[in-house]
Symmetry: C3
Subunit: 331 residues, 3 copies
Amino acid sequence: MRPAPAPGPLPASMQLTSDGRLRHFLTLEGLSAPLLTEILDLAESFTTVTAQPVKKVPLLRGKTIFNLFFEPSTRTRTSFELAAKRLSADVMNMNISTSSTTKGESLLDTLRNLEAMHSDMFIVRHSQSGAAQLIARHVAPHISVLNAGDGQHSHPTQAMLDMFTIRREKGPLNTLRVAIVGDILHSRVARSQIHALNILNTPEIRVIAPKTLLPKNVEELGVQVHHSLDRGLRDVDVVIMLRLQKERMRGALLPSENEYYRLFGLTRERLALARPDALVMHPGPANRGVEIASDVADGPQSVILKQVSYGVAVRMALMSMCMGNPPGSHE
Amino acid sequence: MRPAPAPGPLPASMQLTSDGRLRHFLTLEGLSAPLLTEILDLAESFTTVTAQPVKKVPLLRGKTIFNLFFEPSTRTRTSFELAAKRLSADVMNMNISTSSTTKGESLLDTLRNLEAMHSDMFIVRHSQSGAAQLIARHVAPHISVLNAGDGQHSHPTQAMLDMFTIRREKGPLNTLRVAIVGDILHSRVARSQIHALNILNTPEIRVIAPKTLLPKNVEELGVQVHHSLDRGLRDVDVVIMLRLQKERMRGALLPSENEYYRLFGLTRERLALARPDALVMHPGPANRGVEIASDVADGPQSVILKQVSYGVAVRMALMSMCMGNPPGSHE
Amino acid sequence: MRPAPAPGPLPASMQLTSDGRLRHFLTLEGLSAPLLTEILDLAESFTTVTAQPVKKVPLLRGKTIFNLFFEPSTRTRTSFELAAKRLSADVMNMNISTSSTTKGESLLDTLRNLEAMHSDMFIVRHSQSGAAQLIARHVAPHISVLNAGDGQHSHPTQAMLDMFTIRREKGPLNTLRVAIVGDILHSRVARSQIHALNILNTPEIRVIAPKTLLPKNVEELGVQVHHSLDRGLRDVDVVIMLRLQKERMRGALLPSENEYYRLFGLTRERLALARPDALVMHPGPANRGVEIASDVADGPQSVILKQVSYGVAVRMALMSMCMGNPPGSHE
């Protein structure tokens, strides 16, 4: 199975059951504000679980969850694995590159085999856009697929933990100015954040980037475009810095690391242009001295580590909802 | 410890306790029809566990099971790991090539160490025939060894899940015609299937292969030999296709993939020569277009994915029996 | 984060809580005899757990333990993982070399992320002396760090399982003569053993080695120095053989394997110089025919495999104490 390079449009209904509950979690496109709020509310209740001495609830006991990571990842894989274990599920980590796909077995055959072993959920990370979606189209009816990042397309659980962090630290999204800074063009994180912010009625979403790192017609996503960091940061409540892939610097897109830092790096001086209590966020891992100054990443306005903490609770909520557990059933 | 290339004959009693219960599961040779039937019956009851929402029974809680895979394998390792987790055992996956054997420690020393940590079971896959047997000869009395495939010798859990599949889909073995097609010579799967079919009194067992892919004196195993697929398939109830190792095609044994497919590939036209309701089986992963046509592998007579499903239940039964749990004790 | 090559002195209090309980377990230096005895006593009670059919207690249920092995290790990692699972903790194995440190993330950032996911304990093995200590200095207050071996500095859990083995097989340490034989200079195991033996008031500790394999001023550690194995072994109650790193033989430190064996290898003849009931110990994996004869390693006086067995119980005790469980709370 070769995931198509450009995934076709996803029917909004594909992620939902006939009665509107979450079945897969592939992309934020097409999801409603009430559903996103339900996810955030459930995640809120899971933060109490992760703060207990016994960080475990039996909600997914006896469920089998496969972590299918076709791209290497420490923090995302770990976060999902922990979320699954804290829900008491059985988690299987599949290192796909060393698997029997080397025996010439196609990806689809591998998945059908895992399916046949009575799996309940596939967590999928893949370097090709649309991979999780393609898998979701082919799985048996009782299986849920969660997208843990597909190519440059979507990283919806990251976006949800970002929304959770903002709501928890700043209050409802529908009163805030949020800026996303950096390589919007190649970022699945940015794409998912913009969708989530729009769904939750964020009144002002700014993207700040050099022209070479912006998708064409980005304004159509419902964002304001800035090419100057100083101007773009003015009065925002939240600054989300994106990781700059080092390989971008080698091509024609960017002059150099130093030049990028000079123009788009978040320093203390620049952060002062935002609201005094503005949050600093980053999906991690941060390139200190490239897109963000070390003292800002570790500073009092940074919630970078809180994002990581909340990530486990948000993923517990998503796993639990996809498995059909009504909100509140673990209390 | 270097497993001898040709394992000596195994005393039938070695796999059994003094009162006839299963202790190790290394090979089908020497086991009785009632014992095999007991395994199949217990597996039957485990299929209800894997179909439950909570796919877990506490039978092996607190037991420590080591997955010792000296050869790479996705599906077999995963199947054993899932079986162990669904029995509530603690499973340890040992990647032996990266282990301290690189520090010059011998295999036997490694095993004695795992043993000393109060292991209960070793699941062993090894490229050398007789490896699991050799290990079983040396382990402490409380430890069970399950053979997950040794060289070209034996793959007894695969054969048992095949027997289970046939019995479940077709009824008792003692009324059926079964054909095994392909590289009998190098196949541990075929060798174990032939033993199992004979023990369960299958009246007609056919092997279908080019002369170069048959062991010498194969008739002595109690099978009919066919060199023509068309003739061999006539009126059989079950067709088991074997995976063709690509490396065989490069040597003198076979002309080419295309030529093999032309002569021994299972197509729809050929399958029509068997009984109309004949089962199509394959231990996986299948080489589509080499030993089997894609539409046959995915067709209505194929039970390939059922084999995978049942495999977990069959392995749960074998693990549970080796650990001394009487049939029915999980109900 | 680059662990400094020479770790600074560790304040004795760093490993203890304000009321004197164990928080981290990094080195034996500065710990008291009563605390070591408490560890040994608790481990004693855990040996009954590992001997039960259900080898599991719920003491650390819902705790999250990260196995952070920056150096490859089979037996130590396995022993810790088993200890954690038998305490019902959730264990995460991190293969650090393949982690996102390859994305340029620093070790400290990785740890802060794991911390943010509500970890409870880090088990750390690292090739640089002082690594576990450095990590312990930086972790959040609720996290415990256990040193699973750092460079040539310390391997305190190994030393404690050795003390446990000696006490169990020979009685109290304060009446015994113990010899440590081999490459003292490069051995973290020897360093920790010497500390433990001194704390437990062992009246006579001998180190036996060629001059090239002894640290300068080794006498200051409270040991007798011998350069002749024959003389050093006379009348000892315990002989601890150290593993000879093969790479030492290539340098100027040692003439050859054969020559080393001739001078410092433990043979049956030599062992006869010790007390008739002297224990033979080795932290493993042993180089048979280099530092120890095979028949001695497997002989009646050898307790090498008992060391491995007791290791799990000792690590359960240490994990449990660091997590704040009072001795006896699992009974």
